[in-house]
Amino acid sequence: MKGEKRRMKKVLLMIMVVLLGITVVSCGEDTKVEATEEGKVLNIRVWNTEFKDRFRAYYPGYLETKSNGDDLLDDGTIVKWIEVANDQNGYQNALDVALQNQASAKDDDKVDLFLIEADYAKKYANAQYALDVIEDLKIPEYSLSQQYQYTKDIVTDEDGILRAVSWQATPGLFAYRSDIAEAVLGTSNPDEVQAKLDTWEKFDAVAAQMKAQEYLMLSGFDDAYRTFSNNMSAPWVDANDNVVLDQQILNWIKQTKEYATNGYNHGTKLWDSQWSADQGPTGNVFGFFYSTWGINFTLLGNSLEDADGPKEVGNGLYGKWRVVQGPASYYWGGTWLVGAKGTDNPTLVRDIMLKLTANEKIMKQVTLDVEDYTNNQKAMNALAQDETYGSPFLGGQNHVKLFNQSAGDIDMSNISPYDQGLNEGIQTAFRDYFLGTITFEQAWAAFKESSTTKYPELKFGATPQDPFAA
């Protein structure tokens, strides 16, 4: 009896081992067969959902989204989205780790496509991380001929090689509420409102008018930052690692401090919950500085009263916003697609780049649907001249016509690899100054403290003079 039991146990064990062995071997065989073709998994690194939504709505090969968030394409490829938020350099840090492991990673884990922002475009658009768009990815130059030149210049490395492509141009604008404009300025017509806002002096005067009628001109301390910082005459850091405080930044500090003291702004931080709420029906803020991507990606969602309801007039402030150039022309950000060096899906990367950044029909459709300003001069010119085109969110205004001119004039030559850290750093450091808890010199010291922690090679000169002194 004992012997039989033992034998039974041994037989069962053998059967289990054999079964396991078969499954392991058979799984192994499947992956071996696939390795000779292009990879079956496309890894895309992003920091928010903007490109994800764009891809799902407009890439022709997209089939469906699975329950775990991955996308399925019509040729069977799986698209994995790796999303890491931008704050405190989080996205860059995670990306750096992934790129460092690129050579040793398994094919399915290799980074294939990653997004970069204007603030750190210079860091990644080079031979170390990015594939040559023309030679490696085999995208012909004439396909990219309709893109705005500055979108190509910013991601061209020192040897003149193009390393990334973008689907958008990002001229800056000022979005205002037509109902508040009617109440305070007597008109909501964009041309007339622009005439009242086209210099900083006029802008400040309108701010006082708004305050007199219990409205706020701006929401956050950092709302107008980009309008000043993108008009700097030199980069943040010079060739000898010295930090240069541009007059434009001082102008921003001066204006924001005045607005804070006089109660013209709401003291919010960009992207926080109060700032988002100020764009909706409960807010009483006159306007927001935005770039073209902000209209569809941020303002539209924040303006609705019922977030899940239909996006049409009647739902919150939909249809009540208008846009004008504002007191200064500027740009704000922009996103580029980079083909990662070492990717195992070069053909798919090439196709995505062509379809979403160079295909005129798709890009025109994107603008018609979501009001983004796409990177195709021909399509944008056509829409600019189209009398019948108007954005329903903006109450029928043709914003493409407004920015057609300025999009071609954007100059990104003053960016530096330190932009993200220094821009965030100065906004954080001076927040307490605007709130009135510390002096200008203390705020500058705080900025110096956080910047040298992030970038140890930077050198700071003497403290600049308080703009309100003397």
């Binding site: 860059q92 840090n93 919010t268 690899p417 850290g421 927040r431 140890p456």
Partner: protein
């Protein structure tokens, strides 16, 4: 010969069972620790926001000198310690009180298990989720701020997150909430380990409740109290999740809630300053060690003086 065969040596099995842990511990804890110490003597970072490697160049004690002369480390260490003390002192007092009440035979509190579970629950919540919850609650347009204003208690909206003191207090409070359950249960275990007959004989001799507490319970709780203090100190010095999420990584108003771990994390941010971060970590370790040894000495003063063994 026969004797040797029959005496089976089981020692080797002990070593074999420990081997996996030792291997993993050495690979993933000891070696990185030693590497941190090693790189702290080098200049090693990435310039241009992380694009170009500088070093590793041997730099003697340059990093340590920088830590001590730059002044940032001491500012952040002071932040860390004030947040820890603000949270730990109430935690200790409340936990001691609760432990006494729960173990008191006179009070005989009912449903003890329910209370014990409830006070321990905050410890189970992930620190970052807890911190995010508080951030939403106390935000400038959050429910608590609105409630204080709407109820008429305050004349104008009070901003919690824009002021240094409320930010620090809230972080200490979160720490307190998360850990007082743990401390209570530990102290309860300590009190229940005290022989009741000692306390009874003291009461027969006429000792009051507070005298019994001060002269009998507290001294006998010393080992547990020492354990609680040192583990809380180590945890407090390494405070990271809660202030990081609550201040969104900025360190709060005037960087008054920036802890040393947040500083190290930012050092490893875009520029990956392995050298300086290594030096800061080593200095922190040394300070923690010194403070722990000081606690240990103070708690066991009599034993040291007498030369006897430490309880």
């Amino acid at each position: 010969m026969n004797k040797r065969k029959s005496k089976i040596n089981y020692n080797k099995w002990g070593y074999r069972f420990i081997m996996p842990f030792i291997i993993i511990y050495v690979l993933f804890s000891i070696i990185p620790l030693l590497q941190t110490l090693y790189y702290s003597f080098f200049e090693y970072y990435y310039r241009f926001g992380g694009a170009q490697k500088v070093g590793p160049n041997f730099a003697f004690f340059d990093n340590y000198i920088k830590v001590f002369t730059e002044g940032k480390f001491f500012k952040y260490f002071y932040n860390t310690m004030s947040i820890w003390v603000l949270g730990f002192l109430p935690q200790l007092i409340v936990s001691l009180l609760l432990a006494l009440w729960f173990t008191s035979t006179r009070l005989n509190i009912r449903c003890q298990r329910f209370f014990k579970t409830v006070i321990y629950m905050p410890n189970l919540v992930m620190a970052s989720a807890f911190s995010l919850l508080f951030l939403r609650l106390f935000a400038n347009n959050g429910p608590v701020t609105n409630m204080l204003f709407d109820s008429g208690l305050l004349n104008e909206t009070f901003s919690f997150i824009d002021k240094a003191v409320p930010t620090r207090l809230l972080i200490s409070f979160m720490n307190f909430l998360m850990w007082f359950g743990n401390t209570t249960i530990l102290l309860m275990a300590g009190i229940m380990g005290i022989d009741q007959s000692i306390i009874e004989s003291a009461q027969v001799d006429g000792a009051s409740a507070s005298q019994a507490f001060r002269k009998i319970v507290l001294p006998l709780l010393k080992p547990i109290l020492l354990f609680v203090m040192i583990t809380s100190l180590v945890g407090g010095i390494q405070l990271f999740d809660i202030p990081q999420i609550f201040t969104s990584g900025t360190g709060g108003p005037e960087a008054k809630a920036m802890t040393v771990m947040m500083y190290i994390s930012t050092l490893l941010g875009p520029s990956k300053q392995y050298g300086l971060a290594g030096a800061v970590s080593t200095v922190l370790f040394l300070i923690t060690a010194i403070i722990s040894i000081t606690f240990f000495y103070f708690f066991n003063r009599e034993s040291f003086k007498k030369g006897g063994d430490v309880r």
